[in-house]
């Protein structure tokens, strides 16, 4: 990554198509060595944002800085992309495809072949190297495309729904490769509807809706902002009425206590600990899942069919 402090810097970018404003004044940045979650419902403007970042389409207004400046032909060799609308040349073999795409990214023929072999072995596709792309299963095709997008070891990797079509074993495999790239300093932008993967892998996220920024920042901070004013407590003894608690309910043997306005969880814990005959065994702030937050902010559930979004 070199000395660039920011891999991608998007500032006040908008994109309009006729009367439609696909992206509206969007700003965010992505840093080296992080996996950045780009989230949003269908048609929110995610793919448009990605395409603008990659210089596939031009923004109507605003500035985009990639790897320390405007996009250039030379910088394209330092960027990896796995688009949502995926495809490779059906009539080429896996190896020929990877060598061709690797060479387009500036690798020499020998390096492209060596890298292709290394990565194909890693994703367990080496035995299929001489098969034509059209003869691959969906999962194999997905892995071949992942290799095509990453074998040149980019500084900035943009991946759109990287886990769609993969079984749990291959999902784990791709996930481990992405984490390794992150640890090696690659800035990774991951657009997905699989909230569980975002929670597992992303340090920071951007949630956009109708082309506008809705949530942006470290995932933990966002989750804290959305943490319910409630705690889950396992305890022995009878608690009865607890000062500062608005409502008490029991779920699976645990108490769920909703706090009154202005009461902090720490105060409640103190009161419970000081109660005679009561032993606190577990005290935990109730966390919203990312999916809960998504639904709350966007106002609707993530439907399974949203896996294949076109922004």
């Amino acid at each position: 990554m070199g000395h660039n402090a920011v891999a991608l810097d998007v500032r006040n970018v908008s994109k309009s198509y006729a009367e439609v404003r696909a992206v509206d004044g969007l700003s965010f940045e992505v840093r080296p060595g992080e996996i950045f979650g780009l989230l949003g419902p269908n048609g929110a403007g995610k793919t448009t944002t990605i395409r603008m970042a990659l210089d596939i389409i031009k923004p109507s207004t605003g500035d985009i800085s990639v790897l320390g400046g405007p996009m250039t032909e030379e910088k394209k060799a330092r960027i990896g992309y796995l688009p949502e609308e995926r495809g490779l040349y059906d009539d080429m073999t896996v190896m020929d495809t990877l060598v061709f795409l690797g060479k387009l990214k500036g690798l020499s023929n020998a390096t492209a072949r060596t890298r292709a072999e290394t990565y194909l072995r890693e994703v367990e596709l080496w035995d299929a190297r001489d098969r034509k792309i059209e003869a691959l299963s969906q999962g194999m095709n997905q892995k071949a495309q992942f290799v095509a997008g990453t074998m040149h070891e980019p500084d900035l990797l943009i991946i759109d729904e990287p886990f769609s079509g993969l079984d749990p074993v291959n999902t784990r495999l791709i996930k481990s490769l992405l984490l390794r790239m992150r640890d090696q300093g690659t800035a990774i932008i991951m657009s997905t509807h699989q909230m569980q993967r975002v929670e597992e892998m992303c340090e920071r996220i951007l949630l956009i809706d109708s082309g506008q920024r809705v949530l942006y920042g470290p995932l933990e901070e966002i989750r804290r902002q959305f943490a319910a004013r409630a705690v889950e407590v396992d305890l022995r003894g009878e608690v009865g009425q607890v000062p500062g608690v608005m409502r008490v309910s029991r779920e699976n043997g645990s108490y769920r206590m909703t706090l009154e306005e202005g009461v902090e969880p720490e105060e409640l814990l103190q009161r419970l600990v000081n109660m005679p005959g009561v032993t606190v065994e577990r005290f935990e702030r109730v966390q919203h899942s990312l999916e809960d937050i998504f639904v709350e902010v966007v106002g609707r559930e993530v439907a399974p069919e949203e896996e294949g979004e076109a922004a």
Partner: protein, 399 residues
């Protein structure tokens, strides 16, 4: 430039090994050679024929045989056509010639036979008539009459020397043949180019590829790869045609007599190569605009029509080779190579017209590459959709 070559090489390799390409490329020349072989076999088949003739002029001498290529062909003179017909039916002769009363004025005679006379019989009939008209002429005169003189034509202005016979035919036909090669190449590639771009869009690899190269490089690489493919195909066809023609003219052509009209060849290359690229880039552009292969085929048909278009004007142009239509179509970039070369078959085309035509083609080629690269950027992500005129205008303004 390296990336353009990479795309060109990949495009070429992917297609040159396809079954359809191999069948089309090698099947047609094989058919040409077979057709030529059949023609040759028909000509040389049947051995030495026996022929007869009926003299209705009463002026011809009796001939009992003629020598053709060292072989004696037996000849029978019949008193009447009925007698000759019966001999033919009986199989005594392979055919007979009826020389009518007015032959000496009109020169027309009629041959009746089981089939068309083969090459030996044809020669024998000519020899028969010479001998029948000049029975007392010595052999050297009869032999000289076969080939009275070897005339060499010398152009007053250029000093170019062209010998009579095949060399002259080659001199006249070469520009036309080159024009036909151009038309064939354009017609072949216009279809393939559009379909190749549509296929590229359909395979959806484009979004990944354009993060590595610019649309201009991708379009240029595609056009170059497809051009090499067309060159391979047309080259094989030309070799097949040359083999076929060579086989058909076996033994009748002296290679050292041939003279190549280098000026025509030079201008064919100067106008034909960029002219071809212009068609190829426009073919790619139509593929960009088309939503699917069917649409691409229809649009390519329009381009192919333009490529063939000059042929429809040929009779009007021949009537006035240096007239406004001939000069206009020589300067119009899409018809320039064909019309200029056809005009060269029949007369000299001024160098200024050819140079102006080349300049116009190059300017249009540069504009076409710019235009196609612009709309390509806008259309490459429209899977299965065609580019509408409004979107084309937007692409030209904003891309």
């Amino acid at each position: 430039m390296r990336k353009i070559w990479l795309v060109a090489a990949a495009t070429y390799r992917r297609r040159v090994t396809s079954t359809l390409f191999l069948i089309l490329t090698f099947g047609i020349p094989v058919l040409m050679v077979i057709a030529a072989g059949v023609a040759v076999l028909t000509q040389i088949g049947g051995g030495v024929p026996q022929i007869g003739y009926v003299d209705q002029t009463g002026e011809l001498a009796a001939v009992s045989g003629v020598t053709v290529e060292g072989r004696t062909v037996p000849v029978t003179m019949f008193d009447s056509q009925e007698e000759a017909r019966q001999a033919l039916q009986a199989g005594d002769v392979g055919g007979y010639l009826v020389v009518p009363e007015d032959y000496l004025e009109e020169g027309a005679a009629t041959y009746y036979g089981e089939s068309s006379p083969n090459a030996v019989a044809d020669e024998a009939l000519i020899g028969l008539m010479r001998l029948a008209m000049l029975p007392d002429a010595p052999d050297w005169i009869l032999s000289r009459l076969d080939d009275p003189s070897d005339v060499t034509y010398v152009a007053q202005e250029t000093g170019e020397r062209v010998a009579q016979g095949p060399a002259l035919v080659l001199r006249i036909l070469t520009p036309g043949a080159l024009a036909m090669v151009f038309v064939l190449s354009v017609f072949t590639s216009a279809n393939q180019m559009g379909a190749a771009v549509v296929r590229e869009k359909e395979q959806r690899a484009m979004e990944m590829v354009v993060t590595s190269i610019s649309p201009r490089e991708l379009v240029s690489g595609k056009v170059l790869g497809m051009t090499l493919l067309t060159a391979t195909q047309v080259g094989v066809w030309m070799l097949g045609a040359a083999a076929g023609v060579g086989l058909a003219l076996l033994g009748t052509l002296q290679v050292q007599e041939l003279s190549i009209p280098w000026r025509s060849v030079l201008w064919a290359a100067l106008l034909g190569i960029p002219g071809y690229f212009l068609y190829a880039v426009l073919g790619a552009g139509l593929g960009v605009i088309a939503g699917d292969k069917e649409q691409a085929r229809q649009l390519a048909g329009v381009l192919g029509f333009l490529g063939m278009g000059p042929l429809y004007f040929m009779s009007a142009i021949i009537d006035n080779l240096s007239g406004p239509l001939g000069v206009g179509l020589t300067l119009f970039p899409l018809t320039a190579p064909t019309i200029a070369l056809f005009r060269m078959t029949l007369s000299e085309v001024p160098t200024w017209q050819l140079a102006a035509s080349l300049g116009i083609i190059l300017v249009c080629l540069a504009a076409a590459v710019w235009f196609v690269a612009r709309i390509f950027r806008a259309a490459m992500l429209l899977y299965g959709q065609s580019l509408k005129p409004k979107e084309i205008l937007q692409a030209l303004r904003h891309a």
